[in-house]
């Protein structure tokens, strides 16, 4: 097995729900030893999250929990027990990175804010991910993914003009705050490699979303133009650059859609050729981008009439063969059953799970030529690594571990 790029990096993972575990999933995929510290009486709610396998949740059979917690270890530890707190401090001392996504103030209430973490380990890299960050007047406010993406502007910019916001049909901001945290942590590791210096990284989930709409903010501060104006958001039509046709078009079959983006006149001519040069497409009112934009409603109707004659995949193949940017709006089943590109890239990986048997994961990206990331292990059963971590990482003897367990610390 090739060496992993983050091998040798140990992460004390105090995260839960989605944003934090997404960050540590990235680190684990690239080979960090990620140790999730869990407590059975206050288990991660996602351990009960649907979809589950079987009829009732067992803490180990949530498909979603397994999806975002592969490649990690799990230990059970009651950090509120004095001995549990001591063990947590020892684990932190043995770790390069501490990550958590509690509400602001929780770590301080445990006696584990950054100055205290630094006393435990001077070069610790401590990353906190919270809704509003650890400073500012509203730092005590909280978010879920859906409210974070509402507050940062992302929900608003997804929708049809004149309709309520469609928003994102999942916690895009949990993904993205996690991805940002992974960027920050790895950058901090590189800095520590060079200088020996650790640090605190304070991430606000909302700020991690505000930065994803910079041009819209600048359009307001420079041009005085808000997205809260008639005609916005523009649905699937292009905002910038303003080009047409640019939309999703219905295809044969139920709820089947093809995205087509024509960026210039050459691509328009390619589209017209691929549609077999219908007479309407030769008309002057579709000849230039400006003309097409002025007649966008009719243009979209004409193209929709053409796409409706084909399945999405047929139309996509036809258009791509002609050099037109086109893609089916794929469902999860499409990605898994019908996507030759993901298959050809060895995207799907099967690994053995302690309770569920063989389960399938998507792959690790990007692909590194010398030290690629990998899918090595399924999401851990709760506490499956308690003994090995206490023994191998903290150097405890089996007798010490048994005595600690008997006192109710390892639960």
């Amino acid at each position: 097995m090739p060496e992993l790029p983050l091998s040798g990096i140990r992460v004390c993972d105090l995260t839960w729900i989605i944003a934090g575990p997404t960050a540590t999933r990235v680190l684990a995929d690239f080979g960090a030893e990620v140790i999730r510290v869990e407590h059975g009486q206050a288990a991660d709610a996602v351990r009960f999250g649907r979809p589950i396998v079987g009829d009732r949740p067992t803490m180990n059979n949530s498909g979603f929990w397994n999806y975002i917690n592969r490649n990690k270890k799990s230990i059970l530890l009651n950090a509120r027990h004095p001995m549990g707190g001591d063990l947590l401090r020892k684990l932190i001392a043995a770790s390069d990175v501490v990550v958590e996504n509690f509400s602001s103030g929780i770590m301080a209430s445990w006696g584990l804010d950054y100055p205290q973490l630094r006393e435990i380990r001077p070069d610790i890299i401590y990353c906190s991910v919270s809704g509003f960050g650890h400073s500012g007047r509203d730092k005590a406010f909280t978010t879920w993914g859906p409210t974070a993406q509402a507050l940062c502007g992302l929900t608003f910019t997804s929708g049809l003009p004149g309709y309520p916001p469609a928003g994102w049909g999942y916690s895009y901001m949990d993904h993205t705050a996690g991805y940002s945290a992974a960027v920050a942590i790895m950058a901090a590791i590189h800095h520590r490699n060079r200088t020996g210096e650790g640090q605190h990284i304070d991430i606000s989930q909302i700020e991690a979303g505000i930065v994803l709409n910079g041009p819209a903010v600048l359009d307001f501060t420079v041009n005085g133009r808000s997205w809260r104006r008639a005609g916005m958001p523009p649905g699937n039509r292009a905002w910038e650059p303003r080009v047409a046709p640019h939309n999703t078009y219905p295809c044969a079959g139920e709820d089947s859609w093809l995205a087509i983006a024509v960026m210039n006149d050459a691509e328009w001519r390619a589209l017209v050729m691929a549609m077999d040069e219908p007479p309407w497409a030769a008309e002057a009112r579709f000849a230039t981008n400006e003309a097409r934009l002025a007649n966008e409603d009719e243009l979209d109707e004409r193209i929709a009439a053409w796409t409706s004659e084909f399945t999405g995949y047929e139309a996509m193949e036809l258009l791509q063969a002609a050099g037109v940017r086109a893609g089916v709006c794929q469902r999860a089943s499409d990605k898994f059953e019908r996507d030759p590109q993901l298959d050809a890239r060895d995207w799907w990986h099967e690994v053995e799970h302690g309770e569920l048997g063989p389960i399938t994961y998507d792959g690790v990206l990007p692909k590194l030529s010398a030290t690629p990331g990998s899918v090595r292990a399924a999401g851990p059963l709760i506490g499956q690594d308690t003994f090995s971590v206490l023994h191998d990482v903290l150097g405890m003897t089996p007798e010490e571990i048994a005595a600690t367990e008997a006192m109710g610390v390892l639960m």
Binding site: I9, P51, I52, Y67, G133, R137, T142, W144, P146, A150, G153, L154, G159, L160, Y163, P164, A166, G167, G169, Y170, T176, Y179, V183, M186, A187, I189, H190, H191, Q199, H200, I201, S204, I210, P215, L218, D219, T221, V222, N223, G235, W239, E240, P241, H246, T248, W257, A261, Q320, R325, G327, R331, A332, P340, R345, D362, P366, K367, L368, S369, A370
Partner: protein
Amino acid sequence: MSGPLAGLRVLELCDEPGQFAGKLIADLGADVLKIEPPGGSTARTVGPFVKDRPGPDRSLNFWYHNTNKRSAVLDLEGSEDDRALLRSLAACADVLIEDRAPGALATIGLAPDALRAANPALIVCSITPFGQTGPWANWKSSDMVGLALGGPMMMNGYDPEDAPGAPPIRGHGDQGYNTTGQFAVHGILAALIHRDRTGEGQLIDCSMHEALACTTEVGMPYWLYARQDVVRQTGRHAAAQRTEPWLFRAKDGRHLILYGVGRDNESWKRLKPWWQAHGFGMQFDEPRFDTPLARQPGRGSPEAAEIMAEMGRFIAATDADEVYRGGQERDQAWGIVRAPDETLQDPHFHDRGHFVPVTGEGIDEPALMPGAPYIFSATPWELRLPAPRLGEHTAAVRAAGGAWPEIEPS
């Protein structure tokens, strides 16, 4: 120079798909030298423009995505001298990021393998729509086409009764490119950490399709574990079964998202008198509302549905800010659906210094734009340079004669 990547030398050969990756790295302190063709990156033609007048240095889109970079124009297609200069720069760079079609650099004699042969410590990251290999490798894409094929779009949209026949919806802001950029940087930093240990660089193949295929949260697990496709719904999570709405229109016309109401008993007890003082939720004193599970959304509970319906009436009679702050002060993680520019009006983010002033052609006063996605205690994110004018640093690059051009003190 500050930033955790200070001292890192990066060549960027990117247009729209790859420029966010370069920005992330530049904003973390790296010296990113953007190599542009004569006429400039296509990203300079993307609006909005300063006062709606196009020009290579007037694209606000370009301003935002190219902070902290320098720009040199080289004619890599047309000039062997310029290609030789690029090879020299790559020989003393740490990282090269490019977003051309697979094999395009090789056809002009700048194959990543060859650049790496001359500088084995070099990390080359190639960002493409579908990756360097596979049947779709040479297909064309765009941000929207990527969001379609990767799966995000099919999860965003409307309940049929809200917008009959509506298509799946693309969230704006080039989110496909943004997510891909974040993954590209994951790969670059992982490779950099490996290089810190071994001195060895490598090639990185970053596919937008893969970045988006694994960025659909519960969408993929629902298929992998339950063989169900989730279905899009207005303003809330796509789900295997229809769920009660979370999106409510306030008295002032703005929308709010309430993902859960009074999940724990303590906050529930604090919420009731607030609503009841406004004349809403009188029935919530009934014991059937007392258990947290009955109040939890997304589980088909009749009490949860009733709570959300009553919330709709309460919110319709109340301004969005009052609902938002009143809820947050009672431990409710509610949010207002803000336009991106409305985030500027929230003093909390100014307390944190989030928005930063930027200058450029056509404006007299600096304008604010979003700044740091992360606050580093030791190596702060910093806006050192606004986006470069086209070719602003070409002369410095040529004068250095193939060595890495020093940064002139500003």
